[in-house]
């Protein structure tokens, strides 16, 4: 039956039109796939390494300190409320500085050590150290502390050499109990203190919030400002250009290294938008040409189709036949576009590897999912066009 139908219903004579539609559709699909692939490569770069992630997703913000802000660099409640409302900010935490004098000294004579120090406290949900000891109440004489890794590095790789002191590992440091003195209105109070963990997230010596609140209250230093001068935010993507722009507009600053992805991100955004946008426009046109091509074929075989139906061919039979005539070419185009995309991805993988940027050597699941979606869209377009024009013939 199909062999005979093929003889009767020949594709419309517009061969060039068909070739143009095929090329248009191929380019459109490649552009769309490329947009999706670039986006997923970027996402992969941003989110693949979970250790980087924990650093990257928390930013400590403070006012830019210059001659204009000198002396009043604290962050107001308004600033914090505004910050909370931004779409790219998930959570805001206030870093509370100590308003009292404090010092740390060692109990051991073998390791004499004494230094003036200041603390900061931050709500627990912003801390990436899990320790059972991380709490304090008024009856407790023990203060847990979290130190930045940077402090230990500074000691191990600079200070110890100059003072002829031994190097210390994290585990050793965690075993040392220090004497922590704080100055209150009623005189000096001493506690036992110990480092319970190290973190990269906040570059200051942290104590529990409960201790900080208690000590600040008893410090008697009512002159010192109550306003925080630093806040910590949690964000899904520190490379978000909106975030960088917001910081700039509000005179805020953070560790620039963490937002370095912002520039790449902007470039990626432009590439993805142009490629995706052009691809979608071309897809619409290609679909239109394909639809016209189907319409033209059916119109040019009008009398044959009429006679076939007169002789008893069912519209469903003819629709199925026409789908088989037109749809396979669409599938082939999709497959070819995917193959081209895979080759490009493989080449990009090799090239970027030389630049120490690691992306997958194969196209992403998302790209394949988009290809399947395209196959569905094309099928529906074919199906409804054919159904419409065959139905008219009755």
């Amino acid at each position: 039956m199909n062999k005979l139908l093929k003889k009767l219903i020949k594709a419309a004579s517009g061969r060039t039109r068909f070739v143009m539609a095929v090329i248009g559709l191929s380019v459109a699909l490649i552009l769309i796939f490329a947009a999706v692939q670039v986006q997923s490569n970027y996402d992969e770069l941003l989110h693949s390494k979970t250790n980087q992630d924990s650093v990257a997703n928390f930013l400590v913000l403070n006012k830019v300190l210059n001659k204009d802000t000198y002396g009043h660099a604290s962050i107001s409640n308004d600033d914090i409320t505004k910050l909370k409302q931004q779409s790219f900010v998930d959570e805001v935490g206030i870093l509370t500085p100590s308003r009292y004098k404090a010092s740390v000294e060692s109990y051991s004579n073998k390791f004499p050590f004494s230094t003036e120090i200041s603390f900061e406290a931050v709500p627990s949900e912003f801390i990436d150290v899990n320790s059972k000891e991380w709490n304090w109440n008024e009856n407790s004489n023990f203060i847990p502390m979290i130190a930045p890794n940077m402090f230990l590095d500074f000691y191990n790789f600079q200070f110890s050499f100059s003072q002829n002191l031994p190097q210390l590992t994290q585990d050793v440091v965690k075993m040392i109990v220090f004497k922590v003195n704080i100055q209150t209105a009623n005189g000096k109070i001493s506690f036992n203190g110990r480092i319970v963990g190290f973190s990269d997230r906040i570059t200051s010596l942290l104590v529990p919030q409960s201790f900080m609140d208690w000590a600040n209250q008893y410090s008697g230093n009512t002159q010192a400002t109550q306003q925080p001068s630093r806040v910590i935010i949690k964000t899904k993507d520190p490379g978000n250009p909106l975030l960088v722009q917001y910081l700039k507009d509000n005179g805020l600053t953070t560790d620039a290294d963490k937002t370095r992805f912002s520039k790449y991100r902007q470039i990626v955004n432009v590439v993805v938008n142009i490629s995706g946008g052009t691809g979608i426009i071309m897809l619409v046109f290609a679909l239109l040409i394909f639809t016209l091509f189907i319409q033209l074929t059916i119109a040019s075989c009008k009398s044959e189709i009429e006679l076939l139906i007169t002789l008893g061919a069912s519209p469903k039979q003819l629709q199925r036949f026409l789908i088989k005539q037109f749809y396979p070419s669409n599938i082939i185009i999709i497959v070819i576009a995917l193959i081209i995309m895979s080759v490009l991805q493989f080449v990009a993988h090799g090239f970027l590897q030389q630049q120490n940027i690691f992306v997958s050597w194969f196209i992403s699941i998302t790209t394949i999912a988009v290809a399947v979606a395209m196959a569905l869209i094309l099928f529906l377009t074919n199906y409804f066009t054919i159904k419409k024009y065959i139905a008219v013939k009755q």
């Binding site: 039956m1 005979l4 009767l8 002789l311 069912s314 519209p315 469903k316 039979q317």
Partner: protein, 225 residues
């Protein structure tokens, strides 16, 4: 009683006061045993309809084949008004229940005679093997032109191709509109014998329209249009 009744009703044609709207006034002035009458054609009846020129012969055949809807009254297959039959069910009727030889033949001119017949054979689950085409073509004398493009065959040859095309498929009713108009006596006899044999084999009825009286078949009924 029920099953028997069902068998009797199977594929019978009922015409109730049908009259084509464009020809209504003209036809009502004539005496006709079909237009505006109630008729029941039972399965297996061989019906000859004598139809003088201008009496609406082709209109009648086309109405029964549901090619036109501009008539009053109703035509029923199996007690079902054919106006209610949808496109896909209609295809099933045309593939399995009702076959036709058009007056204007309606072959595809650009494919061969054999392909024209083959198309009707494979449109549904084939009733006959492919070699039945050769067998029938041999009987009516067109075996030699099966490989020719239908458009290049003479009208008489095309007429016989159209007859074979109608006979290659399953049917309960065969509609024929002046099927022998371009055949000589000898060929008419051969074609009529083949049609009679095929109808008998299927226990099928036919409705044949022609201008004049004839004795090509052993008709069970003769009507005047």
């Amino acid at each position: 009683m029920q099953p028997l009744l069902y068998i009797q009703l199977n594929m019978q044609l009922v015409l109730q006061n049908i009259i084509p709207v464009p020809l209504k006034e003209k036809l009502l002035q004539r005496s006709s045993s079909i237009w505006n009458k109630q008729l029941l054609f039972k399965k297996g009846e061989w019906i000859k309809i004598n139809a003088p020129s201008g009496s609406g012969k082709t209109t009648f055949i086309h109405t029964l084949y549901k090619l036109r809807n501009d008539y009053e009254g109703t035509v029923q297959y199996d007690e079902k008004d054919i106006r209610q039959i949808n496109a896909n069910d209609l295809a099933v009727y045309r593939q399995q229940k009702i076959s036709i030889v058009f007056q204007d033949l309606r072959l595809f001119p650009n494919i061969t005679a054999r392909e024209n017949i083959e198309l009707n054979r494979v449109m549904q689950t084939p009733l006959y093997e492919e070699n039945k085409i050769d067998e029938m073509a041999e009987i009516v004398g067109v075996a030699g032109i099966l490989q020719q493009r239908a458009g290049l065959c003479s009208y008489g040859e095309q007429q016989r191709i159209a007859i074979i095309r109608a006979l290659i498929q399953p049917f309960d009713w065969l509609l024929m509109d002046e099927p022998f108009s371009h055949l000589d006596k000898d060929n008419i006899a051969k074609a009529a014998a083949l049609i009679a044999a095929e109808c008998t084999k299927r226990n099928a009825g036919f409705i044949l329209t022609d201008l004049d009286e004839d004795a090509h078949f052993n008709y069970s009924r003769k009507l005047l249009l």
